[in-house]
Symmetry: C2
Subunit: 395 residues, 2 copies
Amino acid sequence: MTTNWTPRYATRIAGMVPSDIRELAKAMRQPDVISFGGGIPEPTLFPHDVVAESFQRVLSDPQTARIALQYSESGGYMPLREYLAGYMGSRGVPCAPENILITSGSQQGLDFVGRLFLSPGDTVLVEMPTYIGALRAFDACEAKYDGLPSADYLRPAKAKFGYLMPDFQNPRGTCMTLAEREDMLDRAAALDLPLLEDSAYESLRYEGMALPPLIALEAKRAGGIDKGRVLYTGTFSKTIVPSLRVGWLVAPVDVIAKLILIKQAADLHTSTLNQMVMMDLAQRMLNEEHLTRVRTLYKRRRDVTLAALEKHMPKGVTWTRPEGGLYIWVTLPEGVDGTTFAARALKENRVASVSGKSCFAVKTVPNTIRLSFSLIPEDKADEGIRRLADMLKKI
Amino acid sequence: MTTNWTPRYATRIAGMVPSDIRELAKAMRQPDVISFGGGIPEPTLFPHDVVAESFQRVLSDPQTARIALQYSESGGYMPLREYLAGYMGSRGVPCAPENILITSGSQQGLDFVGRLFLSPGDTVLVEMPTYIGALRAFDACEAKYDGLPSADYLRPAKAKFGYLMPDFQNPRGTCMTLAEREDMLDRAAALDLPLLEDSAYESLRYEGMALPPLIALEAKRAGGIDKGRVLYTGTFSKTIVPSLRVGWLVAPVDVIAKLILIKQAADLHTSTLNQMVMMDLAQRMLNEEHLTRVRTLYKRRRDVTLAALEKHMPKGVTWTRPEGGLYIWVTLPEGVDGTTFAARALKENRVASVSGKSCFAVKTVPNTIRLSFSLIPEDKADEGIRRLADMLKKI
């Protein structure tokens, strides 16, 4: 009586495509490949002994362990929400624990904001280029896209929110100036447009002055974040470790209440144990000593990569010079397709990079690639860039 | 320039309501309350020392720790997928690691299957009553509901999939017979209707013979699960601990490939560390000794609760006598509203239970309540049931 069945998927599935980066991950990990590919943190920076100690602290007391191993509230472990409210306060964002939702990594925050605002066919305004993972999250809501800012930006009814990364943007590595931040808030206010601020790389500044996040500037204007229209996602993935999957979302209390319903439906709550451990780790590790160690290593890798670009790249190639983050954005000579170039570089010259095309939802610039310097050994950067430059010289 | 903003939420938000159970959770936890409320596991069963040991094992070796603390593949940690393929095989479900997706708890599996099949307005067939958390997940996809089985069940074009819990169903505690399982598969085949089998309580059998899961019966008919139309969610929450948030989903390879795209968009991947620890725990704890300990405790609590119902309940009250799981489903005399009754029982008599009404998506039976015996101290069950019975006698 059984026949092969034909799944009748939701319409959203048609628009969901595998992320090139994660698909390429296997090829990139081969030992002879010089990798400027995925933007993952350097694992020797992971404080595995401190992490192990935190798990022991939480699990060694039977009373605490019972809480840590049980189901818990969808909004998050209250002491962690309190800690993060204080942490955000120290960055100029005065907020209460009720303004914080704990998420399973900040990617889940992007997914939830998509689900909060987007019905099929609704528009999100995004930077050009922007973070691929955000596009994948919004694709799952059948989003349409427009540029932020753009001409269409002036047609407010069309857009449900704007998504942006003001600090060391993935993939360009660039930072918005203070004037650009204020201007963005002006426009958002004029259009009554909520903004989703992704702060993934905020703490990874290697030089220059830190600028206030959009949510801090907005809170100042509005007299508190409950009246402001900026939502903010935070992560421990780039400063402590990614794999505990503990991130957070900051928003007006009313908005958090809606997001808690989404969290409840999506996965009940983030691991109680991981939340308790992350709180212990944050208290012990989010200090200058640890952050300096992290920044020093990535700064060196950025520096050797920029020096190699300067030394080897032929005329007609340009790139960003980021003050932080993990990425350099390279514009190849016009007519060179980034996807073909990156594929050939990996196959023929064993150098991994990411085609820029997948980072555009609108107005694709095809002659672009993203270089991540987070995993590049200092003695390999020059050779890797030289190989890319040689390819370009031959084209 | 800032004004109060008006969020223009997605249409799905209007249909999302707080789960009564989680909202009531606080009141239920007060120490003087005799609780037949939330279906959460008994925390003294949590093997916190074994869990602590597993974390040490994984984190003590720097090489292993680096993998455990890094980003990982969206499908899940391959050794855990392999382990679970073997585990499913031992339950009569021959499958490959590629048939397994690791999820952040089995709730996420329900959410993902909803997102896989449901566009706004699509219909899901559900049991009457059914698991509240599943309704919340499907609500987030703007599902419509119909009964499984029902007259409408014969109009296949309307339904995208059927959701059911064949073993110790939440909230009734009942089990489908072998004949009922085969009949369900016949109907699903006739309609080319995929079924989502939620196995949350499968391992908690206290008496009687275990029956094969639907997915095993279907695999036998179809010659493998890749050709079958049953999807299956599994969990460690009831047998080991809930808070690591590691569950799994079993489905045809093609379906898993689509679900991996959803996973990637939703939260990238489930905690690598938690997956590695859960695999270690499963290998050490999913044995007769540990499961007997768990089953023995819950069986005793079921027995004292059933005995108290028998002793105290007036005529006109009926209840299920489950062979496993955590729930007893009580039908009050006609005309007694379960929601009013449960609220009064908690407020006036300090006994927590859950109104049955929230468990129905269609054809609500209002004179019902769910009793969970998972947390009831053996010496309190009689008193708790006596108070409920006294209330009914007065009505």
